[in-house]
């Protein structure tokens, strides 16, 4: 009964939230959990097939939603926290929203994206059958302390999960260590050839997670991802069961997984990892991966994943990045676009962004200065910090403003061919609203 009241209360809050125009992705769940703390503990019983969870610093939402889309394309009913609310409250909200008025939830699969730090809390109620870990990068240090702390939290969660099959990124030395935990079953996916120029950007896991010696790379992709090995203890990149080769980064991206040709209309090297993780997870769940590309057709990217708008006939591309690795990837995607472009960068420092903005200095912002850069504008709560970052990189900021709208209006009226808007988390929704409004022409 408590449970039913909790579900009703949550549903009411969702409706009330919609009336006042709020996107309720976590709060109804948080409220319902106060009434019934073990609300979601029957997910394992409800789900007929498997519970698939996705963790990792970058690519969680995309990977999780792709798995969900692929399963839905196969005709399954899937419980999925699609909006990326990835703590227990977000999962509870998803649960409430899929429940009928009798409080019943039906699902063949559950696809749950979970914040690394909350895995032990979530796993008390929900045991994953398959756990994807995409990568680990420096992220929101003020919340987690150091990356070693995150690693220990995940190890604890894996031990708690019991009989789980891990799907791990073979190219990430920080991820591969989870596959070596006692009693763990793991499969790996990885990109087995050099694709990108070998530049020295901030490497997170320079040191062997097993023995502490400095690792070496036969080649690497970005950050610490690559063909790594430890010269001291022999820890090295495992041969991946899902082996990616023949990569072409021109749109559409092309590559092969175990020799099967893939072609997808996404931007960004990192999306190859997301797709490989999905492919591996489906295979581990004993779902066929024939027609893989077709399975993904129904997938709609969440906002801010290189999302394209059209304003005054000019493409405006919105990209969300939350940490140095993400920003470096976004910058490299901007730079692979040969068109003349304006770039706008918005940096906030609210709780969901991480209050510490020192990471701005770990991003290779100086690389944004390529010959095709028409103008650069900065905005957001920490507009001064990001502008200083450019000042000390000898890059001229053409406009500093507290108004995203002003920055976009200015950029769409230059003679450039494209506009890129790079934002961090809490700047995303307000920016999307501005872009939608301008796209509708209701300026």
């Amino acid at each position: 009964m408590r449970k039913l009241i909790a579900i009703w209360a949550g549903k009411l809050l969702t409706v009330a939230g919609k009336l006042v125009g709020k996107k309720s992705s976590a709060s109804p769940g948080a409220f319902a959990l106060k009434i019934c703390p073990d609300l979601v503990s029957d997910i394992n019983k409800i789900v007929k097939k498997k519970v698939i969870v996705t963790c990792g610093t970058n690519g969680k939402t995309t990977t999780n939603n792709l798995v969900c889309s692929a399963l839905e394309a196969k005709g399954y009913k899937v419980l999925c926290n699609r909006l990326g609310a990835n703590m227990l409250s977000g999962i509870a909200t998803t649960y409430i929203q899929s429940a009928d008025i009798f409080g019943r939830v039906r699902a063949d699969y559950a696809c749950l994206e979970i914040d690394e730090a909350y895995t032990p809390i979530v796993f008390k109620q929900v045991k994953p059958d398959i756990m994807i870990i995409t990568n680990l990068f420096r992220d929101q240090l003020d919340r987690y302390g150091e990356i070693d702390i995150t690693v220990n939290i995940i190890k604890k969660a894996i031990a708690q999960a019991g009989d789980v099959k891990l799907v791990l990124n073979a190219d990430d030395p920080l991820c591969v260590q989870f596959g070596r935990e006692p009693g763990v079953k793991a499969v790996y996916y990885g990109i087995s050839e050099q694709v990108l120029p070998q530049v020295d950007d901030t490497k997170e896991g320079r040191f062997c997670p097993i023995c502490g010696a400095e690792q070496r790379f036969n080649f690497y992709h970005y950050s610490q991802l690559g063909d790594f090995y430890c010269p001291e203890c022999g820890y090295k990149r495992p041969d991946p069961e899902y082996d990616i080769r023949n990569v072409s980064l021109k749109t559409p991206i092309r590559f092969t997984i175990n020799g099967h040709q893939m072609e997808v209309n996404y931007k960004g090297f990192y999306n190859i990892y997301n797709l490989a993780a999905v492919y591996a997870a489906l295979d581990v769940a004993s779902e066929s991966t024939d027609d893989f590309a077709k399975l993904l057709e129904g997938y709609k990217p969440q906002i801010g994943r290189m999302q394209e708008f059209n304003i005054n006939g000019k493409p405006v591309i919105l990209s969300l990045s939350k940490n140095p690795a993400g920003f470096n990837q976004a910058i490299s995607t901007v730079n692979t676009d040969d068109r003349k472009k304006d770039v706008i960068i918005a940096i906030n420092d609210l709780a969901n962004d991480g209050r510490d903005v020192s990471w701005l200095w770990d991003v290779d912002f100086h690389k944004i200065k390529d010959e095709n850069l028409n103008s650069l504008a900065t905005t957001g709560i920490r507009v001064y910090d990001i502008s200083l970052r450019f000042k000390y990189a000898d890059i001229k900021v053409d406009l500093m403003t507290d108004s995203m709208k002003e920055a976009v209006l200015r950029a769409v009226n230059t003679n450039s061919e494209a506009v890129y808007v790079l934002v961090n988390y809490t700047a995303l929704y307000p920016t999307e609203s501005v872009l939608k409004e301008l796209e509708r022409g209701s300026v």
Binding site: L141, Y392, A393
Partner: protein, 245 residues
Amino acid sequence: MNIKIMHLYPDLLNLYGDRGNIECLRKRLIWRGIDAEVVTHTCDDTSFDISDVDIIFLGGGSDREQKIVCTRLLEHKKELKDFVENGGSLVAVCGGYQLLGKYYKLEDQTIPGLEILDIYTEQGKKRLIGNIVLKSDIIDEEIVGFENHGGRTYTGNYKPLGKTLYGHGNHDDAGAEGVVYKNVIATYLHGPLLPKNPQLCDHILKNALKKKYKDFTELDPLDDELEHMANRYIVERFCGNGGKA
């Protein structure tokens, strides 16, 4: 004129955008027509020569990385101590600050320090995390930054870098942050420290120039409007009314 800056172990101690501190020191010399040379000393370097170095920078890392650095640096304890005692400029942030003391006592072990300063650090229960604002008597402008440390540093009779106007500081109820000793600036503040605190950066540069060039008097002024806006923004956001909290 020429200033040589050595960044110690950027391969290990680079947790909080420390390269911003190095860039700030370097650019503020170059913008004034003073030559700046930045050298790094990394894990791969076997020799350790600081005889012609003017400013040494030691940043922060995770506890694990800090331990590796410490083992390496202990071999050069005497050179570093002499460098400081002879008026060399040393900037130490976060983990680097802790390393200058006698020891850092963790839950399960004690990392010995370089004993350059008679201070010590003990691991506390909670990490002290957040924006921080200091009033220092070595410069006019408030010092702003971000702190994130599990260690509590006990600094005895040393002069602190500043009084804490907002944030924690050396330990939970210290009311003060960092240490100033001779030409050493040691602090928990990152963000990174120097770009938003141009007066502090210039203070460090002046110390180094004065030591090296006897006839040096003053640095040329720079256009610091953006730096001051960034600094003021933090002061007013957390202390209100121009920092008179």
